[in-house]
Structures are given as structure tokens and as C-alpha cells.
Symmetry: C2
Subunit: 232 residues, 2 copies
DNA sequence: CGAATAGTGTCTCTAAGACATTATGCA
DNA sequence: TGCATAATGTCTTAGAGACACTATTCG
């Protein structure tokens, strides 16, 4: 198409989603159980075909809504990468554009029409088993998790995993769950509250069912963290 | 294709390349002048169709070789992002997967069969004029330059812009050209030589045609910079 | 010598890392 | 009172920023 005379092939195009949440201090990903061959009965990342007149992000938003019932304004959605090895799908040539979504307060997953079942699974065992997911979805998941991990360092994206109001300790547990490390509570509190625009204090507190009530914060206007909050 | 019963559309798929070099302390990008409609006579990023049995990176390597004559082992090549708005190409639905290439010692560009002309252009004026490039290539170039700029911060990628042996001052001018800023020579020297594995000193020196001869270095084994070398 | 460029040294200040202590709720 | 969790404070150290000086070549 850079030269009209030449011929070219056409490809099926899908979007696949790496939808991450943190539940009970564990990083989870939304998976579907495949209803049809190939890989029937195996788990995979949710996804679907891009329609003829739809742009890529719209397709990702649509698939996200179909799988979770969430509108596009909740959480965070960004393009991750594309995968197009000729043999990545046994049925033919399929290019997939993967998107990364970060959600707070995940709803119970909705089994979409083309999936036998949808469920949240812990990320760690899936990363440890390269054959746990169908297609090349292990690679896509690996890339998505690494993207999320590195973005937590230099952006305020972690608040996307939190509800509207959250405590500093809850935000810290997000970092710990995504990174798989521990973070010093005192230094973290200093860094987060000392970075302008990262979080905004409210005048409300948690109900201290145990321990001292914690102040509630909201996401601030800053999107970048400078200097970053680096992993060890 | 997550459900075989459903129908799906097919798309043309191209790879487009953001090929960057630094020449005479200026960040340059390789462009082609389009030989055919649409945008005939306008400049664009080089690219071409993905073939039926070829994976994406192979297509990018092939296009890079066609445009520059360089083999894949020279410089750096990574996937940037994909662009697929329905109206991005007036001839129909085309998804493009953009790749970012960083080269040292660029050869004279080779006019590929489908391009009337190929030339290196300074990046800055192209960024300043959103209509300078055909298609959505201004957006792709913007994303590519921003990727290169941010990668210089936390990786040793800048050495990809340098020949095998280079001086610290030459490496510093790479940073200045890509970032469009000035960098303190003394602090830069301390940072670069003090980061293990970033550069390796040789026992050779430049011919001091003017001033004191400078020691020559080679790229070291480190790929990540920790802590990073941040822009101001 | 003077000009030009390379390389090193020093001081300051910001911020991270590693701790202990105090504050505020509940049983 | 004891326990649990939240919040703040202090000391040390690594490293960035801002600077001045010395070194080595050329004409």
C-alpha cells in the first residue's frame, strides 16, 4: 500500500486484554475459559475481534465492558503491544493488539457470550507456568505485568487499583502486591504524602475496627512521579 | 476467533519505522518521499506490508534493511505501538505496527523500490508541524521520539547512537541532541563512568586535532541504568 | 603562550534507607 | 491495660546539581 501496484495479504485482528486488579493483597488477572477449539477448556486472556469500522482503543473498551460490565471511565486502559507470529493461532494468521487495564473494586466477572467462564486468578502462578494460558498469552501476561510494575515506579498509576478514597497503607499494599516485594511503611508514607499532587488528604478516616483509624486520601492531579519511586 | 461461529473482518497490516540517528549533534529521522497516491510527493515514514508467513519483527528488520542496507545486528530495534484508526489510510482499513530503530553511523539512505526518495531530516521541525508527514505519521514520530527520550533515562540505549568506540563527550552530545537540552559535562562524566557496565574504557585516544585527546570507550554489558539518568 | 577540549575535585542539598517512638482506636 | 494499626521523627548515606580547577593537545 506504500506502492499500489504490489499485492498484500490480509490478517484477522483481535484485541486481547490484560485486566489486573489487587484483591486481598494479591495481584489478579481476569481470565476466561475457552468454550471452543482450539485450546477448548483452557484458560486465556479475554479478547475478541476488532470490527470493521472501530478503532483499536474502542475495541478494547468494548471488550472490557463485555467482560466486566465496566464503562471506559473506570480505571486505566492503555495499549501494551502487538503480537503477530504466524503460528500464534493454529487457525490462521491473527494479529492481536494487547491492552493493559488496571481496575479497582472489580465486579464479579461476566461470562461473555464467547467464553464458557470468566474468573479472577492470581498472577504469580500463571507467570510461573508458561503453559498455563492458551496461545501466546503467557507472553502477553508477562509483558503486561512488567509494564504495570515499571509504571508504578514513575507514575501515579497505583491509585487506579484503589477505590475513590483509600488509606496510605492500602496504597502501599498495592505496590507490594504488584511488585511482589515489601515496602517500608514509614518511608513510603513520607514519599507519597511528600510528592505534590500524588494524593490529596480528605478530612475523613476509616472506622478503626482494629488499631488507630487511618486518614482517607483521594487520587491527586499528578500523573508522573519525579523523582520516581524505585523498586529495590 | 474466540468463538469460531462469528464472522470477522480482515485488515491489511503494515510495519512503519521510526529510524533515528544523531548527525552533527542533531536528532534525525529517516523519511521517504511517497511515489504514489495518496499523499503522493509528501514525506512519510518508511514502511511496508507484512508478508503472509513473516512475523512482525522480521518484517521490521526486512524493511530496515531495504531502506538502509543495514543488517539486523546493527543498532537497536524495538516495537513501538500499533495504530489502527479506521480512517488513517484513505484507501481502506490498514493497521500499522510501528517500530523504533536507533542507528549509529547511518549509511546514505537507499531509495527502496516503492519510495521516490529517502532522506534524513531533522526531527525538531517535523515535530513542530503536525501536517509535515503523511497519514498519522506525525503521531507515530512523536511517540517514537518520546520513547527514545525516556529510554535514555533508565537504559544504556544511548550507546546505540554511537560507533563502536566513542568519547564521553560524544555520548553526552547524544543525550543533548535527543533530549534537546544541555547536560553538565562534569556530572555526566561522573555518572557515566561511575555506573558499572555502562561503558568500558579502552587504552586508545582520539587524535587531538584541537584540545586534549579524549579517551575512547566502548559499550558495556549493562542494559539498565540504576539509578536512572533523569532529564531535568 | 593562548585557545580549545578533556578530565578531576569539592561543596551543597535532596531524598532514600534504616531505624524508634508516639498516637489513637478497640477489647 | 494490652493489642493493633497509623503517623511522625531522626540519623546516615547515596547521589544529583552546581561549581572551579588542572591536564593535554594544537597553533
Amino acid at each position: 500500500m506504500r506502492g499500489m501496484a504490489e499485492t498484500f495479504d490480509r490478517f484477522a485482528v483481535t484485541v486481547d486484554l490484560v485486566i489486573l486488579t489487587v484483591q486481598r493483597d494479591t495481584l489478579n488477572v481476569l481470565t476466561v475459559t475457552r468454550a471452543n477449539p482450539p485450546f477448548q477448556g483452557r484458560i486465556a486472556l479475554p479478547g475478541g475481534f476488532v470490527e470493521a469500522t472501530e478503532n483499536l482503543i474502542t475495541a478494547a473498551v468494548r471488550e472490557l465492558a463485555e467482560e466486566t460490565g465496566l464503562s471506559q471511565d473506570v480505571g486505566h486502559l492503555e495499549q501494551l503491544a502487538s503480537y503477530g507470529d504466524p503460528d500464534r493461532d493454529p487457525r490462521g494468521r491473527v494479529i492481536t493488539v494487547a491492552y493493559l487495564a488496571l481496575l479497582a473494586d472489580p465486579p464479579a466477572p461476566v461470562a461473555a457470550s464467547d467464553a464458557a467462564d470468566a474468573q479472577w486468578l492470581a498472577v504469580e502462578p500463571l507467570l510461573a507456568d508458561p503453559s498455563a494460558l492458551a496461545f501466546d498469552h503467557h507472553r502477553i501476561l508477562t509483558d503486561g505485568v512488567e509494564r504495570a510494575r515499571s509504571k508504578l515506579e514513575y507514575s501515579s498509576l497505583a491509585v487506579q487499583f484503589c477505590p475513590t478514597e483509600f488509606t496510605i497503607a492500602a496504597l502501599r499494599r498495592i505496590y507490594e502486591a504488584v511488585w511482589g516485594t515489601t515496602v517500608d511503611p514509614r518511608n513510603f508514607h513520607r514519599k507519597v504524602t511528600g510528592t505534590p499532587g500524588f494524593v490529596v488528604a480528605t478530612d475523613r478516616y476509616t472506622d478503626g475496627d482494629r488499631g488507630r483509624p487511618a486518614r482517607l486520601y483521594q487520587a491527586g492531579p499528578a500523573s508522573q512521579l519525579h523523582p520516581p519511586l524505585l523498586r529495590r
